[in-house]
């Protein structure tokens, strides 16, 4: 098992390096798709199949397609900058070291004392059976019932994001054009 972990993580790092080094944007997008699939495999190894589904469908599927669609609009070659990117490098190094420093305080992987296993009360797994009949998967029960407000908020965020993208990107159709012209003539 540890061999698979190491292999997947090595491939993740190798893919990430390829994305940064490659000049061809089309290839870079394909590599981000590969990266997402590897991320999905990694989530599966961490026993999180829900997240793996989402990563495979959103990361590797839809966002790759959206980036390819963007690429079709903006053209293929990356614009090379000649000057040495000092400021971005600094930002990356500082942020990276801060994240590494943060991981030092995290509980060890698989540790039974990790906060995520202690809070909320582990009894959720038990009270789900009493409170919610017919829903054995207590992840679903937690998300949709105990934390229904949270999930409603998340759905509203997705709704807002969709409306936002629509308002910015939608191509005005013929009918809308007429309306705009009318409005302009009125004002």
């Amino acid at each position: 098992m540890i061999l698979i972990d190491i292999a997947v993580l090595t491939l993740l790092v190798a893919t990430a390096f390829s994305i940064t080094r490659i000049g061809d944007l089309w290839a870079a997008i394909m590599f981000t798709g590969i990266y997402s699939f590897l991320g999905a495999s990694w989530m599966l190894l961490l026993d999180a199949p829900d997240v793996a589904f989402t990563e495979a469908a959103v990361g590797a599927g839809i966002s790759t397609v959206l980036m390819l669609g963007t690429l079709a609009l903006i053209g293929k070659p990356e614009k090379r900058t000649i000057k040495l990117p000092v400021v971005p490098l600094l930002v990356v190094v500082v942020t990276g070291s801060a994240l590494f420093y943060g991981t030092l305080d995290m509980p060890l992987f698989d540790s039974p004392d990790a906060p995520i296993h202690m809070h909320p009360d582990p009894g959720y797994a038990e009270i789900t059976e009493r409170d919610i009949h017919g829903v054995p998967n207590f992840v679903t029960a937690l998300l949709a019932s105990y934390r229904g407000y949270d999930t409603l908020g998340e759905t509203t965020v997705i709704f807002t994001a969709g409306i936002g993208v629509l308002l910015i990107l939608r191509k005005p159709s013929e009918n809308d054009d007429d309306e705009i012209e009318n409005e302009e003539s009125i004002s």
Binding site: I62, T140, S145, L152, G162
Partner: protein
């Protein structure tokens, strides 16, 4: 990609299974991994695959943009509506007092074939996940439509 027969045939073969898997993830989410968001994304990816292979106009015939735009709001409405339904049904439980809470599905209990049809918490979670699934499918599809419908800026 209309001219590649292999891609066309394979896509036609694969899409039903993707849709079926999305429905499985949606309605089997109580027993296994999955739920509304995952199901919505998988469903939308099937629609996007169809649009990629058979062109945007055919995809617009299958899932008209106007309908998808409305479904974005319908999903959120189903979710919030379930919450309000649970709240208002709470009144019948105790004599005239408002006992129901927003999104507290215990009041959705009914005695109409309770062994077959979901009721109570199960029904609430079913409806809520359905709302999430509809919104996510519609949002993902209209974002794709918005990107794919644009032309290159000269």
């Amino acid at each position: 990609m209309n001219s590649f027969p292999i891609i066309r045939v394979v896509t036609k073969l694969v899409i039903p299974y993707i849709l079926l898997f999305a429905l499985y993830v949606q309605f089997h989410g109580y027993f296994g991994p999955g739920g509304g968001f995952q199901a919505g994304v998988i469903f939308a990816s099937a629609l996007i695959l169809y649009a990629l292979v058979f062109g945007l106009p055919s995809a617009h015939r299958v899932a008209p943009p106007k309908v998808m735009e409305k479904l974005v709001a319908v999903g959120v409405m189903i979710y919030a509506g379930t919450g309000f339904l649970a709240m208002f049904l709470g009144r019948t439980k105790a004599d005239g007092k408002w006992e129901g809470n927003f999104l507290d599905y215990n009041t959705l209990d009914h005695h109409f074939f309770p062994d077959i049809l979901p009721h109570g918490q199960h029904l609430g979670i079913f409806l809520v996940e359905l709302g999430v699934g509809i919104t996510v499918t519609a949002v993902m599809t209209i974002i794709f439509y918005a990107f794919a419908g644009r032309e290159q800026v000269k």
